[in-house]
Amino acid sequence: MNVDELLRGDAAEIAAAARRGAVGVAALVQASLARIGATDARVNAFTDVTAQRALQTAAALDARLAVGDTTAHALPLLGVPFAVKNLFDIAGLTTLVGSKIERDRPAATHDALLVARLQAAGAVLVGALNMDEYAYGFTTENSHEGACHNPHDLSRIAGGSSGGSAAAIAAAQVPITLGSDTNGSIRVPASLCGIFGLKPTYGRLPRHGSYPFVASLDHLGPFARSARDLALVYDALQGFDARDPACVARPIEATADTLAFGVRGLRIATLGGYFAEHAGPDARAAVARVAQALDATRVVELPEVARARAAAFVISNAEGGALHLPDLRTRADDFDPLSRDRFLAGALLPAAWVQRAQCVRRWFALRAAELFGEVDVLLAPATPVVAPTIGTDWLEINGRRLPARPSLGLLTQPISCIGLPVCAVPVWGVHAALPIGVQVIAAPWREDLALRVAHRLQMLGVAAAPVAAL
């Protein structure tokens, strides 16, 4: 297998090839950089390419391997190129957060903690990725950087706000990326680009060195071409860090070795009600296909899902607006027109609305905990529809005309509102040409179960993340 073919596979294979000396780390990085160079004018996933740093890191790893460094040899992500949403700090680069405003800020002096952890696991950073401004969007139609294009159909959106993180994998530019998810920003682009994505439990992964959007709801997590890669990366990212006040002091609970346990004995059910009513035919068909493959015949409901989604909406709007109030006062015209008026409105929300939303959020979390007494894993569509065309303003979902940009998160928002771990798995074949994702949802701190189900679906051929024909 040559290096370009390797780069189209998953990270576990790439690391194994580097470990047995079949390919050098420098060759892997050069292939990734060449692929970015050949495709990114069309995809627009990258906002910065850190070629010099990547080549230096690769050379250092190759030198360690050449002298028989057993520590380097054992690194789980040895030589795997990766990239991160441009809200993660990268030493020497200004953290753009998809904005024009941040371009004036000084460069970061250190890597974000999760970037450093991936590098410590042997992965090699090759750049920063396009996103919705300040993570407030589901489309990555960024007015400053240009829209990120879906590699499977360049006329369509990649989803957002971590659009570049999903598109870069679908385009085979890198096999793993990092993104963030406040209301669906990992799961929506994973669904639309046909990629696996993991939003861990709220409070699991430390956010130190990443730019916030809504501290109450922000999660960080990985994208990959396989559930196995998600587990490998997620395991490398785990570990408490007190610098993130939301990070919970839990031991590392490794998942990669649990994938082989399979799904036998797991109680798996499909979420009905709100989740069926707000999903289009393709989304419902994808869930049905996954449920059938898992022999999951039970349908259950969570109560008052629309209110939970509304709570997430209010909290996000208010916290996001408050965060950017100083810039909104003095330079509102420098915000992306697609997010500016929402931020301005959010800065004005009454405190009583936000406090009430936080109470509803906890009420809903208690109801979900009751449901998880009866089931282990829940299935739900990730997006109501497949990727819309860039510039789409309205969606038709089950006879209702809804604003496209906020509605892409209708099905993800209620779940992140209460911090549940979710693996988004890509399903093909229900739409003629495009993928759509299914959320595999577990109880808090049970990322292992979501990953086991995702892995089983991939082994069954029900979920897959093929490279786009660019």
Partner: protein, 69 residues
């Protein structure tokens, strides 16, 4: 909230926060505020009791270094 109530509230709150709303931005702000008001109405209609605490919980921060005995 009625459209008139939203306009009055948005203008008053923006003034109090010293947040200028340009004529070009104001229609969009009113539209998004109305959307948030609809969401707040949904949230507000959920039956809760005094026992339904908010989701946020503050965690006290101990000083760095060894504890005094």
């Amino acid at each position: 909230m009625t459209p008139a109530q939203i306009e009055a509230y948005v203008d008053a709150a923006a003034a109090a926060l010293q947040l200028p709303l340009s004529p070009a931005h104001r229609p969009g702000v009113l539209s998004y505020f109305a959307m948030a008001a609809d969401m707040a109405a949904l949230v507000g209609a959920q039956t809760l009791t005094m026992a339904d605490d908010p989701a946020e919980a503050f965690v006290p921060i101990a000083p760095a270094g060894p504890a005094r005995t």
